[in-house]
Symmetry: C2
Subunit: 512 residues, 2 copies
């Protein structure tokens, strides 16, 4: 028996299926099930609940005996795992999302083939054999039920379908994740086509599945005991600009209520991961809205701030990703929060069917948007991957209201986040209802492109770039067209960054 | 009583609600309900089942007494109605789709504000007061039931929600549309949020609603009797290139069957409107597939060719748009086809929930696509609107398999439909699974952008442009990035068209 399983009492409590107790092995031994060329599915979504020991063992092994795999996860991993795996050249292919600087460099250098995919779609492709077969699933758990059911930790992500569809399953039981997480998860898997039935989720609160992942115990090939914690969130606290963005959005929503389009409880909220979306959610604390619900992917600090402020009645997500302080507080008090929380498979948290049904208000972050409301949320300069589209497309396309937020400039004002034409499109004009910067909010609903351009010029663009953008638009108008552009100049702001490091005109840059 | 209602017997048969019979008026009188600044919803989807008399009366009136309205329809209108309305300057705003050359010119000149919208979304916005209020609905019908229910004709489109949500309804009873159409329609309206229930459609065959539009009879302000037929489809017969496209797709689907991913009955098929998609559907006649079903928007000649060939068991759509000959045959034999047909509101035919549930194989037409599989289906040269996105986004995003088809070149080879970067994005790389030209098919599923580029260069691009595209890609690769581009050159092919009328290099163009 592995030295990790030194406390047989703790392990016995966590593995309630007696015949699985002899499957406990070291991470190295478990990792032995994974060999060159395999497709491996691992738990982990927005730095929460990832398998923590087997990936480290894989990277260690690859350093002296090179091999590579296709790694599929829920979303991003914590604990520098993508970094270690990329540095050890374990990753031939990676999907559907990542957020690691080292892996990002390898992707942009063409060393790792990265498939940037809507988060709701990956297991749909696996289930229909368009992707796969999946050789091994590695899933973090708080424990295993008497029947062999796997109880996830701080994320569900794609873990359920990975475990169900893989030939073999490795379970990492993490003793640092409280057993009190049991009962938080709602594992529902859509029925097979052609007899697929409606997904019965009709509100954020709907419980429609099992509190564990049902897997035949004989498929569990190895169990590893770990104690490493989730990485803390890297989200920064709100600042003046993110507070201004939140303020614009609150004002807009209040006007929607006064027009009778929304009630003061709004509709279920989704917020993308990151500093700006988190800050916007924090903005609801001092708002007139109440009895709010969330139907989102990642639940961040702001979710628990809203619970504590008495603003939020229920939150459904696929993961919980918190700062260090917040993480400790929440895990200590998890029994108190649990009646108001559900974690679902990302296929269900992000499902087009449920998103359209519930009428989600979706708030996601843009890298840049253009005069006509097209949004780039993935590519720097049109070429270099940042993180990936994540769930933003799942939500934006199907939401009741699709909001994109960004600061109006980046890199000390040398980049405008409002440009003539985005250098890469992740969300088309058809899927973007509202755009917000610290300068203001443009409501693009039911507007033609020329009207959208005027709204964005009036409200969103930074003063440093307003004249240049207005000049571009005026000259583009002279060429006519439904969506006026000077096609030879449309991406010139991005070319200028390549040449000069700034989108500012040379005279302006000199004056800065 | 109007002279149009000259045959009281025919009218009596069609208007079964006796107290509505005295609402029959002339088109001019009915059009009097529509005044300057109103928002008006009219029936009509892909030239089928549009209100035919009131729009003509509106255009006639505007010629001597100018006024303008916001016109919302299902999709495109037939009988040159958009042309007449545009010429008479009746249209201040128009949504969500059109396909008329005169209106297109007015849109591109900025005279008509055109909102190019996913076809599933318009009534969702109306119902939630994001769009509207709708002053008048004008709906073509074969008749009115004893309780005042409106029985649509050859399209449902948005007619049901228009009639339900408008303050007043004008019904055009078209005597040229056979009464035998009754029973073809399935009118289901999603329940109101926050208590919206799953849409119970679980197969193309599911009948879940009423065979008529339920409207309180007192809301029917006027009835107009017409006899004008639907316009015939403008779809061209298959040619060598569209047959080659169909052949590549059939070969691909056969390989999917041999891999066990699909059965020989495939999954419900959707095909966009137009010559290429219609030709591709015709390709199923001589294929090994059988017991096919369609869950689509428009049912074209090919649908009935497939019925007659014994290949198709059921077709669900939102309209029937046929060539002149096919139209006469089908309408004569409609009783025979009816058990195998359903026409639904476009909100349901195109609903993300149903499309994802059924696992649709979606086949839509691209104007151009790029090295990485981004698709432009609306904008010529990145600026000038062709028709609109229609339902292509509703289907592409949520389909099991999202296929885009186009000939590899247009305008005698002066335009390549495979370009370094599309000049406008309607469908992002994330939503495009397969692209096909007459040269070949590229299966982009689970590929990283560099792999997609190689597949597209190998299979799709026309020989005239292959070297230039390969050269662009090779030079872009030297800059690295997840999605390699020469950002200053990415749209240069489109700039060259503006300057020289051709994407060919000047030397090549001279040699042509």
């Amino acid at each position: 028996m592995s030295p990790h399983a030194a406390d047989p009492h703790a392990v016995g409590e966590r593995i309630r299926c007696p015949r699985l107790r002899d499957r406990v092995v070291s991470a190295e031994e478990a990792a032995g099930h994974i060999t060159d060329g395999m497709m491996v599915g691992m738990s982990g979504f927005t730095r929460a609940g990832e398998a923590k020991a087997v990936p480290v063992a894989l990277a260690a092994r690859a350093r002296h005996a090179p091999f590579s795999i296709t790694l599929v996860t829920g979303a991003s991993l914590g604990n520098d795992l993508d970094k270690q795996l990329a540095e050890a050249h374990v990753l031939a292919r990676r999907m559907p999302f990542q957020a690691d600087p080292t892996l990002r460099r390898a992707i942009n250098a063409g060393e790792v083939m990265f498939i940037d995919q809507h988060l709701s779609e990956t297991v749909e492709h696996l289930r229909t054999d368009q992707l796969g077969p999946l050789d091994v699933a590695v899933v973090e758990a708080v424990g295993i039920t008497a029947d062999g059911g796997i109880i996830p930790t701080t994320s569900v992500g794609n873990s359920a379908s990975f475990a169900i569809l893989a030939k073999k399953v490795i379970v990492e039981i993490n003793l640092s994740q409280p057993m009190a997480l049991e009962g938080l998860h709602d594992i529902y898997i859509p029925t097979r086509r052609p007899f697929r039935e409606p997904i019965p989720v009709v509100s954020a609160q709907s419980r429609v599945g099992l509190p564990f992942i049902p897997v035949p115990p004989e498929k569990i090939a190895a169990i590893v005991i770990t104690e490493k914690r989730d990485s803390a969130s890297t989200v920064l606290p709100p600042d003046a600009e993110t507070a201004a963005i939140a303020g614009h959005l609150m004002g807009f929503l209040e006007r929607e209520v006064s027009k009778g389009r929304l009630t003061t409880s709004l509709q279920p909220l989704q917020a993308g991961i990151g500093t700006i979306a988190n800050a916007v959610m924090t903005g609801f604390i001092d708002s007139p809205f109440h009895d709010l619900t969330m139907y989102s992917e990642v639940l961040q600090d702001s979710t628990f701030d809203l619970f504590d402020a008495g603003k939020l009645t229920f939150a459904s997500g696929s993961s919980i990703t918190l700062s260090e302080t917040r993480g400790e507080q929440v895990m200590e008090a998890i029994a108190r929060y649990k009646p108001h929380l559900i974690l679902r498979p990302q296929e269900i948290s992000n499902h087009p069917e449920v998103i359209r049904r519930l009428g989600i208000i979706a708030i996601n972050t843009a890298l840049e948007f253009d005069l006509y409301g097209n949004v780039n949320s993935t590519h720097v300069g049109g070429t270099h991957m940042m993180n990936g589209i994540g769930g933003s497309g799942d939500f934006a396309r199907n939401a009741y209201l699709s909001v994109f937020v960004t600061k109006s400039v980046a890199r000390n004002g040398t980049l405008s986040c409002v440009v003539p034409m985005v250098s890469h499109v992740d969300h088309t004009e058809h899927d973007v209802d509202v755009v917000v910067t610290e300068n203001g909010l443009a409501d693009l609903r039911e507007l033609a492109p020329r009207e959208r351009a005027r709204a964005i010029l009036d409200a969103c663009v930074h003063p440093l770039y307003r004249d240049a953008l207005q000049d571009y638009y005026d000259r583009a108008l002279s060429r006519q067209g439904h969506t006026p552009h000077l096609i030879e100049e449309a991406l010139s702001w991005h070319s200028r960054v390549r040449e000069t490091g700034s989108m500012l005109a040379p005279t302006q840059a000199a004056a800065q």
